[in-house]
């Protein structure tokens, strides 16, 4: 019965690693986009798949004044198609800032667009967009917890049967 005694130990280690992943995974997921030479009147950004509120940090290298917009994917695609944000509605917007560092809530999981543009009539040489999803990741946390609980129950069950 070697396999049966090994398995709960393995499950416990697997669960502990999964719990760690719930914290590490949102941090190491690729979530950074540098933008170069952004002209006034144009917008650049990302379409990102969100499952929960998203922490966004947007900053220009020379402290230029910028505006950032957060849209759902339908409006984001419409904005690309039309070439402007005139006929689209935004979920959040941060106007005329040198640094945008906010948590943006979302109505439901899905794709969302983050866009940035210069507020003044100038070309910004370099901007970075960083977005990090909430820590810990709730689903991974739950999976890790379930694995540990199962391993503990398995050990108790084995001891009870051994008696």
């Amino acid at each position: 019965m070697v396999t049966l005694t090994r398995f709960p130990k393995f499950l416990a280690v697997f669960g502990a690693i999964t719990l760690l992943l719930s914290i590490i995974s949102p941090i190491i997921t690729v979530s950074y986009r540098p933008i170069s030479y952004l002209e006034y009147g144009t917008y650049e950004g990302v379409l990102v798949n969100c499952y929960d509120a998203i922490d966004v940090r947007i900053k220009a290298r020379n402290d230029n004044v910028i505006s950032a917009y957060f849209l759902n994917s339908t409006n984001g695609l419409r904005a690309i198609e039309e070439g402007s944000l005139v006929n689209v509605s935004t979920l959040h917007q941060s106007l005329n800032r040198t640094l945008v560092f906010e948590r943006w809530a979302i109505p439901h999981p899905g794709w969302y667009a983050i866009l940035v543009t210069p507020s003044n009539n100038e070309t910004i040489q370099s901007i970075s967009i960083e977005f990090v999803q909430q820590i810990p990741n709730p689903r991974v946390l739950l999976a890790g917890g379930i694995l540990i609980i199962v391993s503990v129950l398995w050990v108790f069950w084995g001891k009870r049967n051994a008696k």
Binding site: V2, S25, Y51
Partner: protein
């Protein structure tokens, strides 16, 4: 429990303990799991977009690509890491096979193992099943966990076909490597031979102008990826291949599977002849 099942289980536990003494099984599993989940995380889940004023009625050049990328993001988030991990299993599986099949023959451990009342056929099949589970299962769990729990995207039938092609390809690589281990009876020769054969076949599938079914038989994951993305997948000196159709995909998976089964049967036959 049925007597034959009990026997299989006892043999499995013995073989597992001899081949992978604690905690090596768990460590190998967790390392492969972390590599798989890491490859999903590094794949990222965002699409760069840009908006610039343009005349009314004109659709930007990259608009179709952005729509396509968003629609296929769920599938490609699973397909991308699996496609990258093929090269990884091309290296890992022949090495593991050399260590677990050619190794015991080379150093004489097989003689000890065969003193137990185990049929040679059962022993080899159990070794193959163990190695397949130990390499492909953690990768599958890792990418699925990464995609579903971390990136929060949904999986469907397309993902199932992709995973099936990955398992079939891995089992064919494994049975080829086992056969090579039994023929050479040398860890070094079988490990490097297995890696060399599959790297060559991988490159042949990627860069030579051959029919889709044959290309897919050598690398079914690539063909499944091309089929669901509706792209040629690769080009030969700038000339793209024909986009694969559904018959190409299933034909390639079945041919790959048949090659794997034939190699396994040949391995069993070869294993019976091995002198210990």
């Amino acid at each position: 429990m049925n007597r034959s099942l009990q026997k299989i289980r006892a043999t499995f536990e013995l073989e597992l303990d001899v081949s992978f003494p604690f905690p090596s099984t768990g460590v190998i599993f967790l390392i492969l799991f972390l590599i798989a989940i890491g490859s999903v995380l590094l794949e990222g889940c965002f699409i760069a977009i840009a908006i610039a004023p343009h005349p009314p009625g004109v659709i930007p050049l990259d608009f179709d690509y952005i729509v396509w990328a968003q629609q296929n993001a769920d599938f490609n988030l699973l397909a991308g890491p699996l496609f990258n991990l093929i090269l990884f299993i091309i290296i890992v599986i022949p090495m593991l096979s050399a260590f677990k099949v050619a190794g015991p023959i080379e150093v004489g451990l097989l003689k000890t193992l065969l003193t137990y009342p185990i049929r040679r056929r059962d022993l080899l099949v159990l070794k193959v099943v163990e190695m397949l589970i130990l390499t492909v299962l953690p990768i599958t769990i890792g990418v699925l966990m990464g995609v579903v729990l971390i990136q929060w995207v949904s999986i469907g039938l397309t993902s199932f076909v992709l995973l099936l092609s990955f398992w079939v390809m891995a089992s064919t690589i494994l049975s080829t490597s086992v056969f090579l281990s039994l023929v050479t009876q040398s860890m070094t020769k079988s490990a490097f031979g297995g890696i060399a054969i599959w790297v060559v076949l991988y490159l042949v599938a990627a860069v030579t102008y051959i029919p889709n079914v044959i290309r897919g038989a050598l690398n079914p994951v690539n063909l499944v990826l091309s089929y669901f993305n509706d792209t040629p997948g690769a080009a030969f000196f700038g000339v793209p291949f024909r986009n694969p159709v559904v018959h190409d995909v299933w034909g390639a998976i079945i041919i790959n599977l048949v090659i794997g089964i034939i190699m396994l049967l040949l391995s069993v036959r070869q294993f019976r002849r091995v002198e210990v």
